[in-house]
Structure formats: structure tokens, C-alpha cells
Symmetry: none
Subunit: 198 residues, 2 copies
DNA sequence: GTGCATTGCGCAATGT
DNA sequence: GACATTGCGCAATGCA
């Protein structure tokens, strides 16, 4: 059959994006690689992600939660994040200074909870870690999506080929059946026709 | 298990997510529905398709949060408020002051472009519009991804079925061929064996 | 509790 | 100019 090496390789890669119980090792040697897709694919997104989400109130609620957190002053400072990496709009951040000393206490963030002052190096550190994690996670997601798309494409191609194959087989079968019926009717007349012609 | 009707319906829906030239009627000569995936998948997606969740009225409090984080140095100034969205207070921010006087000129926001002060109602309006657009776009993306995943799953199922079908046909064919060869050798012996038994 | 992973969200830059 | 996409950081939350 169409043992397209390209196909299997991509599917292989795709499968690796789903660390769950996705791969079925027994299928790798088969001609047409048919991995297990499983429900894993649909779980993650369908639930907890927008689509099914009820009304809009949840959004509001979520929003209200974090809003009192002092939008300005903080976080203007001490970033110097070493892992700025792809950050683009903060090239001049190197000159950033700590304005917090100018802020009135009343203006400061409500940081009532365990004094999570946004000035603390610890805070910045955590933020930076999270930012890294976020980037990583999103890269992963992007890759996963891409692989899924490629996989869909290839499955479709494969499908077409399979269907074509079925068409061939069916036709061949019909021919043989016809021949057989002919012989059945007329008895053995010796006609090796359609054997290899189809 | 899954019924074929469901399959085609989902694929149908999936196809509608790709307003490009996704469907190619010329290839659908074979029995099963086999849509064209084409490269469109991997490229981009555009076009809009009014989702159900159009109403932006449900979300109101979201803008309380207003400017989140102030990219470090720039734009730390010129706003006095956390931007009370379109229709409400600027509550806690009322005590906010202008720290810009403390900022070194080099630290000031680059707001040189037509003075895009974040206080302006026009700015808030634009932001809000964009936020709506972003939500819409992301919903769409989520839907698209979900659809692609479902499609991949279904294609895979279909694939398995096709392969099984091919197996059947092949075996049947072998049987008939065998029968034919037998007859060929021994002449008509009358043996309607594998006709319908496979 | 600690730490990374996910996810929704708003902002801004950029594309159409 | 309006809307659509996209990368990014923040915060909440999930999870090991």
C-alpha cells in the first residue's frame, strides 16, 4: 500500500504531542499507520474552554477578581528580566526605575495577601518564571495544533487512496464474479479473461 | 459506535470553518464523503462567521481592570486612572496622582503619536472594541481547533473502516481467484463455493 | 506548600 | 478607519 514515509513520520510526531495513552505501538509496523486518536484530543479543549461555557457572567466574575491590583506604579520596576527574550516593546526598560517610593500608601496595591508586593524580587522572579512557562506552554499548544492539522490532511489523503483501492478491488471482484457466473451458466468454456487485466 | 451520519455532519461543519476553497466537488466520485482538506489548513484562516456569542453586553465589569501592567517603563504615566471602562467609576484610582513629574524624560511614554492618551474616551472605546474582537477571534480559533480535532478522529475511524473493507474485498477476491484457477485446471466441476460465503 | 502547566483576559502591534 | 490576528505578560487555577 502507500507506505509513505512522510506520513508516518508526521503522525509519529503528532502522537508525541499527546503524552496520554495516545500511541499504540503495535500499529507502527503496519503499512498504513493508524494510530489511536482517542478522545484525548477532544477533552482538553471542549471542556473548560470557552465553547461550552455558559453565559457571560463567569467572565465578569473572573475579571472583577483581580482588578484592584494597582495597575500602574507597580511592575514598572525592577524587571530587568534576564529572560526578556522575545519581548519587543520594552527595549528601553533598562532605564526603568523604581517609582514605588513616590507612591502614597493608599495608592499601593491592596497587597494584603501575604504582602505580595509587586516590588519584591521574589514577585518578579515568580512572574518571570510564569512567563517562561506560559511561553513554553503556548509553543507546545501551537505545535500540537499544527500537528493535528497535518495529521488531518494526511489522513484525508490516505482516505482517498484507500477509497480508490476499494474501487479497484470492487471492480476486479465484479469482473471475476461475472466470469464465474458466465462459466456457471455455460459450463466450463475455458476463458481466463479478466484474471490480470483489471 | 459512531454513525456515519454524524461523521459527515461534523466534517461539513469543519469545512465551513475554512471559507477558502476547501471543498472540491470533483473528487467526490467515490462513495464516502471525502472532502478536500488542501493546504488551506496549514496556511491561515480568515473570513468571519458570526458566532452565536455576539452580544458584548454581558460583559461589563471586565474593563474595571483596565490597564493591566504597564510595560515596565513606558506608559507609566499619563493616565491617572485605571480607566474605568465605558460606563463606570474610576473608584480607587481617584486618588491616583501623576507621577510623571518624577519620571525622567527618557522614561516617559513614547506617546508621541497623536497623543494617544489612555484617558481619552476614544482610547477606551477602541480598546473595548478590540477586546471584543479578540474574544471573538479566540472563540473562533478554539472552535476551529476543536473541529479539526474531531475531523481527525473521524477520518481515522473512517480509515480503519476502509482498511477493513479492503481486507474483506481482498480476501473475497483471493477466494474467487482460487476458485477460478481451480476450475481452470480441472475444467468446470461445478463448485459455487466462495460466491457469497465470504 | 512549592513549582510548573494551563487558560482566560486585556494590551499593543500588525494584518486585512 | 474598523475589525481580525497574534505575541505577550498577568493572575487565577490546575496539578503533581
Amino acid at each position: 500500500m502507500m507506505s509513505d514515509s512522510r506520513v508516518s513520520s508526521v503522525i509519529q510526531e503528532w502522537a508525541s504531542s499527546y503524552p496520554g495513552q495516545v500511541l499504540n505501538p503495535s500499529t507502527s509496523n503496519q503499512a498504513d499507520s493508524t494510530n489511536q486518536l482517542s478522545q484525548m484530543d477532544l477533552i482538553q479543549y471542549s471542556q473548560s474552554q470557552g465553547l461550552v461555557r455558559g453565559g457571560g457572567d463567569d467572565r465578569v466574575a473572573e475579571q472583577i477578581m483581580g482588578l484592584s491590583y494597582l495597575p500602574y506604579s507597580t511592575s514598572c520596576i525592577s524587571n530587568t528580566s534576564s529572560s526578556g527574550s522575545t519581548n519587543h516593546h520594552q527595549g528601553h526598560s533598562s532605564t526603568a526605575q523604581d517609582f514605588s517610593s513616590f507612591l502614597l500608601p493608599t495608592l499601593r496595591a491592596p497587597m494584603n495577601k501575604r504582602s505580595i508586593s509587586k516590588d519584591s524580587a521574589e514577585y518578579r522572579q515568580r512572574r518571570e518564571r510564569n512567563n517562561v512557562a506560559v511561553r513554553k506552554s503556548r509553543d507546545k499548544a501551537r505545535r500540537r495544533i499544527l500537528l493535528t492539522q497535518q495529521r488531518a490532511l494526511q489522513l484525508q489523503e490516505e482516505n482517498q487512496k484507500l477509497q480508490m483501492r476499494i474501487g479497484q478491488l470492487t471492480q476486479e471482484l465484479d469482473t471475476l464474479k461475472h466470469i464465474l457466473s458466465q462459466r456457471h451458466l455455460h459450463g466450463a468454456e475455458d476463458g481466463a479473461a479478466g484474471e490480470g487485466s483489471i
